[in-house]
């Protein structure tokens, strides 16, 4: 390598370093793009999927549209939904207490209880897609924290009632 080549290499090398420094210097003067999370929050999470929730009827928002057909339970890949309905009473046992069984049950067109186990859910949306009456949708609360696994088993009927009261 000749001396001139050495100088040329040193020149191009130094130049690229200074160009890089210039770019980072320029970015340093720009406003910050990140936020300090617990003190500030980002505003682009409205479309981010939270766990599924029930959709209320138009005339009574505290009652879900759900017809307890059990299609969502069957569609779910990770078995995280459960719908419970009263089991029809057998003949001769009318006095026995009402037992709850998985939907669909004969004679019940409304769910007794709907649970989603968010710890298992992968937010794929197969349940909402399958629902024949569009009774499931995604909520928009990505900041969900719990200390116990059991807290992720969410009672959707209670949640819908709470939402209707708040509205």
């Amino acid at each position: 390598m000749s001396v001139s080549e050495l100088f040329e290499e040193a020149y191009t090398g130094l130049k690229s370093l200074f160009v890089g420094l210039g770019i980072t210097g320029k970015a340093f003067c720009q406003p910050q793009v990140t936020v300090i999370y617990p003190k500030q929050e980002v505003d682009n999470l409205s479309t981010f999927r939270g766990h599924v929730e029930l959709v209320g009827k138009e005339d009574d928002p505290s009652v879900p549209r759900c017809v307890a057909c059990g299609a969502c339970v069957k569609a779910c890949p990770s078995d995280c939904l459960s719908i419970l309905c009263p089991v029809p009473v057998k003949e001769g046992q009318e006095d026995a207490p009402v037992a709850m069984g998985p939907a669909p049950q004969k004679g019940s067109k409304t769910p007794g209880a709907v649970f989603v186990d968010f710890a298992l859910c992968s937010l794929c949306g197969q349940c909402a897609k399958t629902c024949p009456v569009d009774s499931l949708r995604f909520s928009d609360n990505p900041y969900m924290v719990a200390l116990d696994r059991k807290e992720f088993r969410i009672d959707l009927m209670a949640r819908l009632k709470r939402q209707a009261e708040e509205a």
Binding site: G20, R49, G125
Partner: protein, 385 residues
């Protein structure tokens, strides 16, 4: 700390082939499974002579999740969310390969609008994958700042994809016959604004990194691979295009509406890490071109065809290949007429690309092996499946 005991080697099944040799300087080094530059849980057994690699052998299986077996246990619809987890960086392409294979099997036609949306989101996802690769590769090489710039741009893109799909990484957006839901009204203008923004950022990327003398020193002439070697190992995607063969599934066997679009397939003939780097940087522009064409005349109509709620494709089998960010993705589905697939075979491009690494790393310095490994753009969960 316990000294390395060569007598223990034969008991380790994956180290059996690395026996103590005649030279004194020989060292067996297990790079990974928890090494920052292996991008996941890849373990590479290296036989070193001083600082030179005599032999390299990847050991897989640390993140094997039995996706193919899971496919046999679930219905066609239920397997869809798995596709977002095979290659989490280019989930859309895997979505597409599986949806395409099942559509071909069941004879479902996708409406024009659905195809355009599919192209747009897949290319957006490709950009996000390449941007992340760019940042992570430079992180491997010791440059910390570029990943910040890459993530800055990637955030804008993820916001667009989040508005469409509801998630930011593991998308499960495709359905048989189209896409899960229609795009919001501002999708096209946001995409166009993003491609414009990215094009304005690319010269900055070039000045900051591509022209940098340190990067060139770490990439040029490192891991040279001729096109024969790439072909022999079945390497696809940017890896083979970096060796001079402009092989691209989007052009070679145009699926969906790719035949209608006008785009360039970048290829570099040097075959080194720099060539593979340049291919990916050029592909950012290619993807921008495709997105512009796909969203600027988004056809009206339904975004999805009506697919039966319980899908039972007729007996038979179908293949569907798409071009992922890492190469050719192929899904082979076989049906026995029931509600669940009889067998699903996933062809991951990363597996073939990783196989070339043994040849490329032989005789190089250990530090260069990190550069080679990064230039192959491996996603280990995809390779292990």
């Amino acid at each position: 700390m316990q000294a390395f005991d060569t007598a223990q080697l034969p008991r380790d099944p994956s180290s059996v082939r690395f026996e103590p040799g005649p030279t004194e300087d020989k060292l067996i080094l297990s790079m990974g499974p928890q090494h920052p530059s292996t991008h996941g849980v890849l373990r590479i057994l290296l036989e070193l002579d001083g600082e030179y690699i005599v032999r390299a052998e990847p050991v897989l299986g640390y993140i094997h999740r039995m996706h193919e077996w899971m496919a046999e246990q679930k219905t066609y619809f239920q397997f869809m969310p798995n596709m977002g987890r095979v290659d989490y960086l280019h989930a859309m392409a895997w979505n597409w390969a599986y949806a395409g294979a099942v559509e071909r099997l069941a004879g479902i036609e996708v409406p024009e609008r659905g195809e355009h949306i599919r192209v747009a989101v897949t290319e957006l996802n490709r950009i996000s994958s390449h941007l992340l690769w760019w940042g992570a590769y430079l992180l491997d090489l010791g440059a910390f700042t570029p990943i910040m710039y890459a993530f800055d741009d990637r955030e804008i893109l993820l916001d667009i994809l989040q508005a469409v799909t509801g998630s930011r990484l593991t998308y499960s957006y495709f359905t048989f016959g189209g896409v899960y839901n229609d795009v919001p009204e501002d999708f096209a203008p946001r995409c166009l604004a993003f491609t414009k923004h990215l094009r304005s950022r690319l010269p900055m990327y070039r000045d900051l990194v591509t022209d940098n003398v340190i990067l060139r020193g770490r990439c040029e002439g490192i891991g040279e691979m001729d096109v024969d070697l790439a072909r022999r190992y079945g390497a696809t995607g940017p890896v083979i295009r970096g060796s001079g063969a402009p092989v691209d599934t989007r052009r070679a066997e145009p699926y969906s509406v790719y035949g209608k679009f006008d785009f360039r397939i970048p290829a570099y003939s040097q075959g080194d890490a720099m060539a593979r780097y340049m291919v990916r940087m050029d592909e950012l522009e290619t993807s921008c071109d495709i997105i512009d064409q796909a969203v600027s005349n988004l056809p009206d109509g339904p975004c999805s065809a009506k697919a039966p709620k319980t899908l039972k494709p007729p007996k038979g089998e179908a293949c569907y290949a798409v071009e992922g960010a890492r190469g050719k993705i192929l899904v082979h589905v076989r049906s026995d007429g029931g509600p669940k697939p009889y067998r699903v075979k996933l062809r991951a491009p990363g597996f073939s690309n990783l196989s070339v690494f043994c040849e490329l790393a032989r005789g190089t310095l250990l530090a260069d092996a990190v550069s080679i490994l990064g230039s192959l753009d491996l996603v280990i969960p995809e390779i292990d499946r």
